[in-house]
């Protein structure tokens, strides 16, 4: 291709089409990562992106695959822009697809501006350390793995576990104590089944939160490449609402495993050197550029809190997807198939779960003065009980000493009374802590080493209380 019109930059011959990649002769003026249209001989137009440009060739990744592209008559036309999302306060209440096009049948809004979906990194020196406790009403989260505003806390689940119910319960119940502020929910559904997507939409509708919600939905049957843009669109919308409109935004991304699978698929099409289990070596950075968009900023009202859901392939927490996610996010809520089988809802494995931001969000003036101590003691006691449970499976519970039996019973009580609760049951953090104190009252008092004596005086039920 020699000449292009002044306004439209267009390629000449396409030399190769395979998978989702087109290699064309160099397009003068094409930008790295620019969006392009691929016009097929039959007039159909596909979107794509220039992922490698040089003076001799332009490599374009086509969204939706290269089917029906013929090398002779198809043309690549540059749009002059990298992928951008039109943004406005009117995003709320709308549903989009994985390319940011409305799919709710309502006409497009007038945008306040266009934002690059990759966002800009937050200056670490401008970040405000997250410290506002979000009360989810779920004891296993509030008591032991508290969520704070601006945190990124994923749910590590397995197929068939009730992660959707738990996240829906969080959406329904989450409040920040004593505050009525502008909040919004952004849902990014990535490669999920239609049922999963509609579960959330129905739930939001029932709680009347739909008009506070923006949804980006890429279902399992939509193009794989759009799974790459879906979470970025969702986060861009969230950032706009948080930083321009001062809202507190909770972003739910489900299922990030599908995102990572898509990333692997595209990477192998680009013939990149694979890292563990075929996932690209840059997956850590790629996920980080999204998750790190959570946070709070000095001198700005809003916040972005991210709760991604991912299903661990074969329940394996060392699989690259949960593993890399765990290295990026500020903790994780891990669901356990064992607890699920025991009929415990929510089946949250408190040993594997962790909230790194918790210490900032709890304590006097935030939750209650004894929270930190109670949290440590609960862990210690439950760890002891679980260890004894393991031993007792070999030697039998009868062979344990008296003190050990107390701990064994305590571990069972902990699971049945503290962790377990109803799907519609909303416990205040005080209620959660009081349950813990009732559990402690069954233990030898001198074993409560991790709790300050003044708290034991104040909160320990005076006589053996029955739960």
């Amino acid at each position: 291709m020699e000449v292009s019109s002044l306004y439209v930059k267009e390629s000449g011959a396409i030399k190769r089409a395979k998978g989702s990649l087109l290699v064309a002769e160099s397009i003068p003026g094409v930008k790295f990562n620019e969006m392009v249209d691929v016009r097929l001989a039959n007039g159909e137009i596909k979107s794509g992106q220039a992922i490698d440009i040089s003076a001799t060739a332009t490599v374009v990744q086509v969204f939706g695959g290269v089917s029906e592209v013929d090398l002779a008559d198809s043309k690549i036309r540059c749009k002059g822009e990298t992928l951008k999302l039109p943004v406005s306060g009117d995003l709320l209440g709308r549903i989009f697809n994985g390319m940011g096009e409305p799919i709710d049948g309502v006409p497009a809004f007038v945008p306040e501006g266009y934002m690059d979906i990759n966002g800009e990194p937050m200056n670490p020196a401008s970040r405000q350390p997250p410290s506002e406790f979000i009360e989810t009403g779920i004891s296993a989260i509030d008591g032991l793995n508290a969520l704070v505003r601006g945190q990124k806390l994923p749910v590590f689940s397995g197929s068939g576990l009730p992660h959707n119910q738990i996240v829906a319960q969080v959406i329904r119940q989450a409040t920040v104590k004593g505050k009525a502020e502008k909040f919004a929910i952004v849902l990014g559904a990535i490669g999920v089944s239609y049922d999963d997507a509609s579960f959330f939409m129905k739930n939001l509708e029932e709680t009347g939160a739909l008009e506070r919600t923006v949804a980006f939905i890429n279902t399992a049957s939509d193009p794989v490449i759009e799974r790459i843009s879906t979470p970025r669109l969702a986060l861009t919308a969230a950032e706009h609402l948080a930083w321009q409109h001062g809202m507190h935004v909770l972003v739910i991304l489900t299922d990030m495993t599908n995102y990572c699978e898509a990333l692997r698929e595209l990477s192998s099409m680009r013939e990149e050197i694979p890292s563990r289990r075929g996932y690209p070596g840059y997956m850590y950075t790629d996920l980080a550029t999204m998750y790190e968009r959570a946070g709070r900023v000095f001198n700005k009202e809003g916040s972005v809190t991210i709760m991604p859901i991912l299903t661990m392939p074969d329940d394996d927490i060392t699989h690259p997807i949960p593993d890399l996610t765990g290295y990026i996010t500020e903790g994780q809520i891990v669901l356990s198939r064992n607890l699920e089988r025991k009929g415990i809802y929510p089946p949250i494995d408190v040993f594997l779960s962790l909230s790194r931001m918790m210490k900032e969000g709890i304590g006097e003036g935030k939750t209650r003065e004894d929270h930190n101590n109670v949290f440590m003691q609960l862990y210690a006691a439950y760890a002891e009980g679980c260890y004894l449970r393991e031993i007792s499976t070999i030697i039998g519970a009868e062979a344990l000493g008296e003190r050990d039996k107390v701990y064994l019973t305590n571990a069972n009580d902990f699971e049945n009374k503290f962790i377990a609760q109803g799907e519609l049951e909303k416990r205040t953090v005080e209620e959660t802590l009081d349950i813990a104190w009732k559990l402690f009252s069954a233990l030898p008092k001198e074993d409560l080493k991790l709790i300050k004596e003044e708290f034991t005086e104040r909160y320990l039920p005076k006589q053996e209380a029955s739960l």
């Binding site: 930008k31 003076a55 290295y327 040993f351 931001m357 031993i391 030697i395 000493g401």
Partner: protein
């Protein structure tokens, strides 16, 4: 001036670049994105871009600077927060708000601050590279010793006293008829280690305030340590504790490819917390590099070298520096990404085959040295690097290559972390080759340290073996002696090794207190053994009030510990004697 020929992610190939040198810094495109030449082929240059390359076009200008990647060195570094290329993040926040824009310029050292310079040499003195010519009070804790830039020498023609900015002339140096101006600021290429007169072995304890480190697995000044651990094992908290409380002159925290919120937390806390020895705010003795995981990947590589260059500069003034890098795995991943783009033949798990040599080129810059120049002085750089092995599997290349270089390993254990035993440093897997190095140091403070430490570690080893039996027969079936041993090792684990980073007292434990704590537990073991032979059962011993009191030793302030230990010892002795009279 060249022009872009190809763009592929952070890899840029530019034409018409004849005359450039490898590692030269270039500015790319209209925004002037920073890049670094990593290869030359006739007049084509292969460039790694330190910033996002989105939107670049073939044919855009690439401009060489003639300089290789260097750090600015001078007063104003301490207390600053930099990105991986030593751009001041605070200055950028003032200029352009909360989000980082591409191609943004921000100098490392403020150009308008006037520093009070007091010369220590006078006109007519002969000086050479490394000689201290004067001082500047940089912060409340750091006296900046202004040195003659390395490689220069001559006679001081003139030297000035008073307030100067980093760019103004403070002295004139005459060398063979040529007069050169000396300023408060100098530069040094980051990939090149700064020279010294002589290297010494690491010596003296680097006090960290963490009992398991100081007492069990000590780190020596000038040493190198690795902290590998799966996610959630507390790597970052351990690193933060190190830079918070390490009793060195200056600490440098390199946050490389890690979390922004945690970085914000550290930055915030350093403006509130005080150094336990001097009572001054911690920011008076810290430098931060924050290149979080969402910031450009390639700059991670630079961030580590920028950090260690600053460390060496202060070492050359005669200070002891601790540099922590969190996490070296992210740094290695940046190398892997570039290697992949360059289509290099990959080594293990896709990492480039030069991973090991690149890691040692970083860790080997630690050390205790005799600095160049006069007056004669010693300084040290100690390096502690976090490693994030995928799936907590220590057999992966970054961990293994690191273990070949470091002399202390603090191995973080997922199962300890799950039980919320923090710091989750495994006492069975960790080691320190500096135990002999610091035994003199400990001997002066706490005679008997060698024996008590060995006794403690041996008990923990015995516990691990007994644990296997317990799993088969249950704890009740053990003989009383073993039951007592398990009680004591539990006390060592829970009342000594466990340490809360968030407890106002326990977060920093002085070595003297740590010594008394473990000795008290060992004393309890002796006493309990005696009681056991006098016929008491372990169940009875366990419920003695002194057991509970020992568990509370952690909350005792450092200076009150000797009195408390005396009290506890007295109580234990009394318990034994009353026991004897009763029986």
């Amino acid at each position: 001036m060249g022009k872009i020929w190809r763009v592929s992610g952070p890899l840029i190939v530019a034409d018409e670049m004849r005359g450039s040198q490898v590692y030269e810094i270039v500015h790319i495109g209209e925004e002037g994105i920073v890049g670094e030449i990593i290869g030359l082929e006739e007049d084509r240059a292969i460039i790694q871009a330190h910033e996002d390359t989105l939107g670049l076009k073939v044919g855009e200008a690439v401009e060489g600077t003639g300089k290789i990647l260097s750090a600015e060195l001078g007063p104003g570094l301490v207390g600053s927060i930099y990105d991986g290329l030593q751009k001041s993040l605070l200055a950028m926040a003032d200029d352009m708000g909360s989000f980082l824009k591409r191609g943004a310029k921000a100098l490392a050292l403020p150009r308008d601050t006037k520093w009070q310079f007091t010369p220590v040499v006078k006109a007519g003195d002969m000086v050479s590279g490394g000689d201290i010519i004067g001082t500047v009070p940089e912060t409340e804790l750091i006296e900046h010793r202004v040195m003659v830039p390395l490689g220069m020498k001559g006679k001081i023609k003139e030297i000035r006293k008073g307030g100067y900015t980093v760019e103004e002339t403070i002295a004139l140096l005459e060398d063979g008829g040529e007069v050169r101006e000396l300023r408060l600021m100098q530069e040094w290429p980051v990939r090149k280690p700064r020279p010294y007169k002589q290297r010494h072995d690491p010596s003296g304890l680097l006090t960290t305030g963490m009992r398991i480190l100081d007492y069990m697995f000590p780190l020596a000044l000038g040493g190198k340590a690795a902290i590998p651990g799966g996610f959630g094992t507390g790597k970052t908290v351990t690193m933060q504790q190190l830079v918070r409380w390490a009793q060195t002159d200056l600490n440098i925290y390199v946050g490389c490819g890690e979390r922004g919120n945690e970085m914000a937390d550290v930055l915030y806390s350093f403006r509130q917390l005080k150094d336990p020895n001097t009572g001054k705010l911690l920011k008076e003795k810290e430098i931060f590099i924050a290149n979080t995981s969402n910031m450009p990947v390639v700059a991670r590589e630079a961030s580590i070298f920028v950090g260690v260059t600053m460390a060496e500069y202060y070492r050359d003034m005669g200070y002891d520096i601790l540099l922590v890098a969190d996490s070296t795995s992210r740094w290695a991943e940046a190398m892997r990404e570039m290697g992949g783009r360059l289509e290099e033949m990959p080594g293990e798990e896709g990492f480039p085959s030069y991973l090991g040599s690149r890691l040692s080129s970083f860790y080997e810059r630690a050390g205790m040295v005799e600095c160049l120049g006069s007056p004669g002085r010693k300084g040290s750089v100690t390096i502690a690097g976090a490693v994030s092995p995928p799936g907590a599997d220590f057999s992966e290349p970054v961990t293994q290559n690191t273990l070949r270089i470091v002399d202390a390993l603090y191995s973080l254990d997922v199962s300890l972390a799950n039980k919320r035993h923090f710091p989750a440093i495994s006492w069975l897997m960790s080691y320190s080759l500096y135990a002999d190095t610091v035994s003199d140091w400990w001997d002066k403070l706490d005679p008997g340290w060698v024996e008590t430490r060995m006794a403690g570690l041996k008990l923990l080893q015995q516990e691990a073996e007994l644990e296997e039996i317990v799993r088969l027969v249950g704890p009740e079936a053990l003989p009383e002696g073993d039951k007592l041993l398990l009680l004591v090792t539990r006390m060592i684990r829970e009342d000594f090794l466990q340490q809360s980073a968030y407890h106002e007292v326990d977060t920093y434990c002085m070595p003297a207190k740590a010594g008394l704590m473990l000795k008290t537990i060992m004393k309890f073991y002796d006493m309990a053994t005696e009681m056991l032979s006098a016929g008491k059962s372990v169940a009875e011993i366990r419920s003695l009030p002194v057991v509970y009191k020992i568990s509370r030793m952690k909350d005792v302030p450092n200076d009150e510990m000797p009195a408390r230990a005396k009290e506890l010892w007295g109580e234990m002795e009394k318990a034994v004697t009353t026991d004897k009279t009763v029986s």
